[in-house]
């Protein structure tokens, strides 16, 4: 456990990616395979079912620390992370005291004020040390601190109890080591600082203390949990609670973890990610298999780095003569690379995340591509020869199992705009004009052979079966399409065509140099995106709630209202766009302008106006206004605008009809 705690501290104590990466590499090299594989499991955010209900966990920690539930919740509200809240509460509660003093309230039971005639109750030179009781220790700045064991009153019996090995046979009928009343454990006072867990390895902590929880009855869970928490030091308690509550990211992104593991194995990041997508269990054997370099050298999953376009800013216009440029629509989907190699179809998203399973119709259709083909393009939700709003595509995000129903509700296609590998050859250095010609031929031929692949036709019409869900039939035809060119004689004409973007469901225009190779990353010069401007609206802050994670404790999640007649109706939530300074300012303002509390949400005086930028608008039952914005974000704080000048709902509704 100590090595894992050390990794956590190293990751937590730096903001430098290079240092985090180095810490991860060191860990994966040094840790035992059996431990490292569990670390990998949690670092990648994999999780099982929560073994203990969150409310029970909260209640037990409240009992253990003897704070009322409302105070625990108040703390959670400020800290923003359950595991951290509970760990902090236990820490404050159980640092050793010289006297029994487990109840801080006892400090308050002091005799009534005895008035010394004409003088203060205590001499002017009194220090806290003289006040006695729990104050005594505070005045001692001793280096040993208040947390050393020295001053602790270790209950010998309780300590033996602690050392007794946990019986794997914790039986529901109240076997050895299990207290049936469920209360007994709370009455035993022994120090929480005894670091017995340091002797235990990380995988032992998980297999002996964490995993068994799921199989136990509630009183047994409570018993085992509290015993584990008592046995850990502060970091250990925090980490254990983190593992228990899930979502453990430890300040290292998934990508970084994969990079580290790839480095340890001496493999490319993409190959490592592909391996991690395969089935593996947190066992030492599987960990060795993940790192194995004896497997085939060239992994068929290996993608190429994506080339990214640079934005054309309004006044800096890099293109005057259009003759050497190819124009396409800028699609509003998920950038992806579609690979067909060795009889396998692999779909990578731009974050180099494998998404093959999320869009099976694309993978199936890719079987019609010749072996050794790699396409660059975009995944889009698509119907009747036009893209569906991004919100529809979102319904397909992050799904592991894609049902026939969802495939019919939200059909997807892959719209291809570049060819990176053809006939097993990397052709990225060829000119765009040539690649485009080859791409057109490739797709045309694939579409033809697709018709002859009986097994990969889209699902048959099943409309009647799902009649109540108003199902329309999946998009017929070959779901790998060619991104069409936008024809225009010059920049003025192209600017004219760009105004069609919104009605076509695109984000603007892409411009690519015909004589350019396929670049790497954000190299400027060959690819430009000429986006249409986002919409904006002036809205009034009507409610706020504290953020979680890195913005914990500050009011950073805002709800905005817009005028309908003479009332403000909610229509958007936004979390980002303000500077750190502005966030503080708004946070303080919220605290002094609260008009009501509804759980963590505070309604506020309608006084502040913000300009929100957004990408689109749609009907919604979530907000009182009946509409919702797409990608709303705060463009700026309109300190100059009075509330009366905020926008009216009619203005937004007009956009709705327009788009």
């Amino acid at each position: 456990m100590q090595r894992f705690s050390q990794l956590f501290r190293e990751l937590d104590q730096t903001t430098r990616t290079s240092e985090k990466l180095a810490a991860l590499v060191r860990y994966f090299r040094e840790a035992d395979d059996a431990d490292a594989v569990w670390a990998l499991h949690f670092l990648l955010g994999r999780r099982g079912r929560r073994p203990i209900k969150t409310t029970l966990l909260r209640d037990w920690v409240a009992e253990e620390s003897s704070y009322p539930i409302w105070l625990v919740e108040e703390c959670y509200d400020k800290v923003g992370d359950l595991a951290e809240t509970l760990a902090l509460l236990l820490e404050g509660r159980h640092s050793c005291r010289p006297s029994e003093g487990s109840d801080p309230t006892e400090a308050i039971e002091v005799p009534p004020l005895q008035e010394t005639p004409g003088g203060a109750g205590l001499s002017e030179t009194a220090s806290l040390a003289n006040v006695g009781g729990s104050l005594g220790e505070l005045a001692q700045p001793s280096a040993s601190g208040s947390r050393s064991q020295g001053g602790c009153n270790v209950d010998a019996e309780a300590f033996r109890e602690l050392q007794r090995p946990l019986t794997p046979s914790l039986s529901p009928d109240g076997g050895e080591g299990v207290r049936q009343d469920g209360r007994g454990a709370a009455n035993v006072h022994f120090p929480l600082t005894q670091p017995i867990s340091e002797m235990e390895t990380f995988h032992e902590v998980i297999t002996k203390h964490l995993l068994p929880l799921a199989k136990l009855s509630e009183p047994e869970q409570r018993e085992l949990l509290l015993r584990t928490l008592r046995a850990h030091d502060q970091t250990g308690r925090f980490l254990f609670l983190k593992l228990l509550t899930g979502g453990f990211r430890m300040g290292a992104s998934k990508i970084l973890v994969i990079r580290a593991l790839a480095e340890v194995a001496g493999l490319s990041r993409a190959v490592m990610e592909h391996r991690l997508m395969s089935k593996w269990e947190p066992t030492a054997a599987d960990f060795r298999r993940l790192l194995d370099t004896d497997q085939t050298n060239r992994d068929p999953a290996q993608p190429y780095p994506f080339y990214l376009a640079s934005p054309i800013e309004q006044n800096v216009d890099p293109i005057t003569d259009l003759s050497n440029w190819q124009a396409e629509w800028k699609w509003d989907g998920i950038r992806a690379q579609l690979i067909r190699r060795d009889g396998q179809s692999i779909l990578w998203s731009r974050g180099e995340e494998l998404v093959t399973h999320g869009y099976p119709e694309i993978g199936e259709a890719a079987a019609a591509l010749p072996d050794g083909t790699v396409l660059d393009g975009e995944i889009l939700a698509w119907r009747n020869d036009a893209p569906l709003p991004f919100t529809d595509l979102q319904k397909r995000l992050g799904r592991k199992n894609v049902s026939t129903k969802i495939r019919q509700q939200v059909p997807v296609i892959f719209i291809a705009y570049d060819l990176l590998e053809s006939d097993k050859t990397d052709i990225r250095q060829n000119l765009l004009a040539d690649r485009r010609r080859q791409l057109e031929t490739t797709i045309e031929q694939a579409a033809k052979s697709f018709q002859q692949l009986p097994s990969v036709r889209p699902p048959e019409i099943q409309g009647e079966l799902f009649a109540e869900h108003k199902i329309t039939i999946a998009e017929p035809g070959f779901p790998i399409r060619l991104s069409p060119l936008v024809e225009a004689s010059d920049m003025d004409a192209l600017a004219q065509r760009r105004t069609e973007s919104r009605s076509r469901g695109t984000e603007g225009i892409m411009l690519k140099r015909r004589d350019s190779a396929y670049g790497v990353g954000r190299e400027r010069g060959a690819w430009w995106k000429w986006k249409i401007d986002p919409y904006t609206v002036d809205a009034v802050l009507i409610a706020a709630q504290p953020g979680h994670g890195k913005r914990a404790g500050l009011f950073t999640d805002y709800t905005f209202g817009i005028w309908r007649d003479d009332e403000l109706v909610s229509f958007a939530k936004a979390y980002s766009g303000l500077t750190a300074e502005e966030i503080r300012e708004v946070d303080e303002w919220v605290r002094t302008n609260t008009t009501g509390r509804h759980g963590p949400v505070r309604t506020v005086n309608p006084e502040l106006v913000f300009e929100l930028a957004f990408e689109g608008i749609q009907e919604s039952s979530r907000h009182k206004s009946g509409i919702a914005l797409r990608f709303p974000r705060i463009a700026r704080w309109r300190k100059d605008k009075p509330v009366t000048e905020a926008d009216r709902i009619e203005n937004l509704r007009a956009l709705l009809n327009h788009s």
């Binding site: 937590d12 104590q13 730096t14 903001t15 430098r16 620390s65 704070y67 009322p68 409302w70 105070l71 108040e74 703390c75 400020k78 800290v79 923003g80 992370d81 951290e84 809240t85 902090l88 509460l89 820490e91 404050g92 509660r93 640092s95 801080p104 309230t105 400090a107 308050i108 039971e109 002091v110 005799p111 009534p112 004020l113 005895q114 008035e115 203060a120 109750g121 205590l122 002017e124 009194a126 220090s127 806290l128 006040v131 009781g133 729990s134 104050l135 505070l138 005045a139 700045p141 280096a143 601190g145 979680h548 994670g549 890195k550 913005r551 914990a552 404790g553 500050l554 750190a580 605290r591």
Partner: protein, 331 residues
């Protein structure tokens, strides 16, 4: 009628016709300490503790009219007896004791119960009504031993020196910065302080506080000492040209807020050192208990949970609505 009450100008004692830490100009202002949310310009006469006077002038201007009395000394104002008692918050910080016709109130200002080599330790004063701050009035705030924190800080500094990196600690310019500086090992490497912090050092030295040798942080000194120095700067100096001049830096915040991981990450500093000039949950509870007060008025921070907690413990507790900001600008 309460001995002290909140008006639109601040905490007012009608019997003595004076204000404590007023947020608008008044005729006579008693000041607990020189932090901006407690000591504001615009009053005609100020009264504070002796060690506070110099800093108060430094912050509000040399022309203000200030009277100062030593800790513990009584002064009568219109028949009301007042005295200043160490609050342990920073140099010169005081709790103000107000006594009239046998009733005693103590206004804590800001305080901490942990040791601090740059100021007199918190002194509990018995009273009927205690006006307490509650900046960190939640049980998640639990301060580690300050000597451990200073040792961690030295270790971090050494780690950075080994990597040729300048260490920059952001700490509030009055109080925290000097508290850290006074405990630094001057032999470990060059120590640079931001001018806003440096200008306050003579007031500390006049009170007998010793500091290791320092240099003013300027573009030149930062460049000369790059990779070795520890720089203490106020939080507002984050991202300033001054810090950029230091080249490769590792940054840290020293504040009670750093006890919460989310806060640390929000600050985007490499390190967060948990060191506060306010009392933690335990310190607040202990200090309240030590006053023996039956009535507690809570201000400055997490007032509502603190009030509820104290009430559930059987104390007569209420929130006192003040304009002290508390939510950490001086932390």
């Amino acid at each position: 009628m309460d001995l002290l009450q909140v008006t639109d100008r601040g905490l007012w004692c009608q019997a003595g016709d004076f204000h404590i830490d007023p947020w608008r100009g008044v005729d006579r202002a008693l000041i607990t300490h020189a932090h901006a949310d407690h000591a504001r310009a615009g009053s005609r006469h100020y009264l504070c503790s002796t060690p506070c006077a110099g800093i108060l002038r430094e912050r509000l201007g040399q022309k203000i009219s200030v009277d100062a009395i030593p800790y513990g000394e009584r002064k009568t104002i219109n028949g009301v007896t007042v005295s200043f008692h160490p609050a342990g918050h920073l140099l010169g910080a005081a709790q103000i004791r107000v006594e009239h016709r046998g009733e005693i109130w103590v206004v804590s200002g800001d305080y901490k119960t942990q040791p601090d080599p740059t100021c007199a330790p918190f002194e509990p004063v018995r009273c009927n009504t205690f006006v307490t701050e509650s900046t960190f009035g939640l049980p998640v705030y639990h301060w580690p031993d300050p000597q451990t924190v200073i040792a961690d800080l030295h270790q971090w500094w050494q780690h950075n020196r080994e990597r040729d990196r300048t260490s920059v600690v952001f700490a509030y310019s009055l109080g925290k910065a000097q508290r850290i500086l006074a405990q630094l090992d001057g032999e470990a490497g060059p120590i640079l302080v931001h001018p806003a912090i440096e200008s306050l050092l003579p007031h500390y030295e006049a009170e007998g506080i010793r500091f290791p040798k320092t240099q003013t942080a300027t573009r030149e000194t930062l460049r000369e000492t790059a990779g070795k120095a520890l720089v203490i700067a106020p939080p507002a100096a984050d991202d300033s040209a001054l810090v950029r001049a230091a080249g490769d830096v590792s940054t840290a915040f020293a504040s009670g807020w750093m006890a919460v991981r989310g806060m640390r990450r929000w600050r985007a500093a490499d390190r967060g050192f948990v060191m506060s000039d306010h009392a933690d949950w335990r310190g607040l509870n202990d200090a309240i208990a030590a006053t023996g007060a039956s009535r507690v008025l809570v201000t400055h921070g997490y007032t509502q949970p603190m009030v509820r907690w104290l009430r559930e413990k059987g104390l007569d507790a209420d929130e006192l609505a003040t304009s002290f900001r508390g939510e950490g600008n001086e932390e």
